[in-house]
Symmetry: C3
Subunit: 302 residues, 3 copies
């Protein structure tokens, strides 16, 4: 079970922590332990890529137990994989999905933000930026096959894709729920969401840190399509064919035209954004909040 695996693994992720803190789910799906800062299996690959030369489509499976938390290690491996595919001219499409049960990605790894030096926090944040930059500006067709919950950074990753297919399971949720934990989605998270669902829905979603079930997410346009859980990946593969029927160069120029202003904004403010994150997350009050969450989770575990 995901719960036990999570407890065993002692990893916390921002989105799921936040869900817990809101008390609306009553399920403990993950548990952090700030002592353990390295994954047990850090030597095994956290990302598995299946590339089909005949179709030009790669499927990237996130396989970092228990909940695909976006740690620095994970992000580094993820970005290298995406960059390799990006540079391979024969790869035209990328499907991102999860090998973990019930979760797409639980978002930023809270352990990267708690009790770390400012330097380390800065390195981590730069990796988060890099993931977003690589995906949002990818020349490949990118499709998120969202086969589980996708809070916070997991939602951000999905939002960078050209198309989002989500499992129609009411237990899953998706959203940028940062404020529920007392932290703030930065401007480029906000821009990405606003480009997807518009200004007003973004305002209410971010201020309340809302997590949406699949039906709600479809309604507001946060995802594009719902399918039964066991058809997420096959539907992504079929949808990819439709996208690849469009001449690459025309699609790429169009995609760039749509996203360039948003990308250039982060590129031009990248260093300031890092400083802003580091200054915020290393505040005593924020660190205290994080510690309280972590300890609450440990008690639940007990």
């Amino acid at each position: 079970m995901a719960l036990r695996a999570a407890l065993r693994n002692k990893r916390g992720a921002l989105g799921l922590l936040s869900q817990l803190s809101s008390g609306s789910h009553g399920q403990v799906r993950t548990s952090p332990a700030f002592v353990t800062q390295r994954r047990n299996n850090s030597s095994s690959p956290q990302v598995k890529v299946d590339f089909d030369q005949s179709t030009g489509v790669a499927v990237l499976h996130m396989q970092s137990p228990p909940v695909n938390s976006l740690s620095l290690d994970f992000l580094t491996e993820f970005c290298i994989s995406v960059e390799k595919l990006e540079m391979d001219k024969s790869c035209r499409g990328l499907i991102i999905t999860s090998s973990q049960p019930k979760v797409f990605s639980a978002g930023l790894d809270i352990m990267e933000m708690y009790g770390k030096s400012p330097e380390r926090c800065g390195v981590f944040w730069k990796a988060v930026q890099e993931m977003w930059l690589k995906l949002y500006s990818s020349n490949m067709v990118t499709i998120a096959a969202i086969n589980g919950s996708s809070p916070a950074g997991g939602c951000l990753m999905a939002l960078t894709c050209d198309y989002r297919i989500m499992a129609d399971n009411p237990r899953f949720s998706i959203g940028l729920n940062e404020t529920q934990l007392g932290i703030v989605a930065p401007f480029w998270f906000k821009d990405t969401l606003a480009n997807t669902v518009g200004h007003r829905i973004t305002e209410i979603a971010l201020e309340l840190g809302l997590l949406y079930n699949p039906t709600e997410a479809l309604k507001i346009g946060m995802v594009d399509q719902l399918v039964p859980e066991d058809q997420v990946l096959t539907t992504a593969t079929q949808t990819m064919k439709k996208w690849l029927a469009i001449p690459d160069h025309a699609r790429q120029i169009t995609k760039s035209m749509m996203r360039k202003p948003t990308i250039e904004k982060l590129v031009s403010k990248r260093e300031a954004d890092i400083q802003n994150f580091v200054g915020f997350i290393t505040k005593e009050s924020i660190q205290k909040s994080l510690r309280m969450y972590i300890e609450m989770l440990k008690k639940r575990k007990g």
Copy 2:
């Protein structure tokens, strides 16, 4: 009855006048009299604030008979009340509602725009700007409990809030109907509406000066929720709890991030916007239009 009260009170408000002029309602709910420029009861408070220390929530009742027209006096008192609450750290949430029957606020007071000196018009417009700036940038959670019609400036006031709950009474309407009277909603009215309902709905709403019934307003996203008339305030109070469950600092930073560009735009063009308003409203042709409306209303009264 509101009609008789309006006639007795001899006050005109932009929104309701405009409704009349469009001939689509057939009800005379207000009547101006450009001779009477002072409210009979100008000494009594036009705004009543109930602040509950235990919840941190203030309810501001607009009580300027008959239709809560936004006169210079009213706006001044309103802004002072909001500023006091803003500076009181124990006040975290503000609910704005009306004590008048059938109307939330009828909008800008037409008598402040007719037959007045340019200087006086400028002072008035600056007060309208001030109301918007205070509300749109408030650190408090702001909820509009819209228990009656809310045209023009009344709609603007509601649009500044974080959340809008409207009475589900088909006789009520809401919208920026300025063009119906021959005047123009300025860019910051437009920006506020576009931030709420998007560019295209704003275009058509402003060009036609549309007033929406509650069902229509909900559909386009001008309001967030409809409830029976007698539950508007209680629903606002319950909703406020949900918003206050979010840590203030995270919500405030997020709100500021969403609204800052719109606010900075008016701040940087504030004086030019005043000059623009004064130049427009003191035009002979516009004054003539206003006089014709006022005289038409007087005849109806007769």
Copy 3:
């Protein structure tokens, strides 16, 4: 029949060609012939204007067989007609419709882009810009009476109007389908669409070059109203009355406020946009694509 007329007339239009190339319709409604560069009836007017002095409303009928392709000749005549109406103070409203069966306008004339000198391509593109600038900034109320399919440039023309009424015939389609032909809708096409349907729908519509049937187009807001095919023009006339009930000056200032940033953007980048188009369309690879489409169409014809 339109098919035979099209084949006889030997004219290609971007939108319909593109539809053909996608193979999703199976109907050959038009056929180009790059030898014939002049319309048979180039001396007869391609635009017919009926102006009713009593209402102040002009109806512009596009009558360039077979599919109202936007050739340089057509655009020149179209712009002159619109400018005349614009300068006639008694003309307050403009309805644009088609005299051709089953098509509103098939979009840019592909023969203006194939095998032409860069200079000629530049002149053509400037005329396309001019059409957009004239319509998008018109002081008149403009209503598109879309009584047939309206791909690519035909869709753009419709999008410039204040209101769009489309025939509720599932065989008709509308959209900016440029990428399907391997070319790209420029930034001002994109801006116009985004102003109408928002950022996310624009992204997906442009990247996939989607054509929508009337029901879909209504749902995403690409058109405002559907009516039976034989009521398109009468509904446009009735709707015009509603728009003309608003004082012109207030409506015009409001319209300008909504559209000015988008217009100024093209005005300031007009020459660069021409160079960009010419550089792209005269590329050998693009010319080759166009030739293949044209030859495929000729074969189908045979």
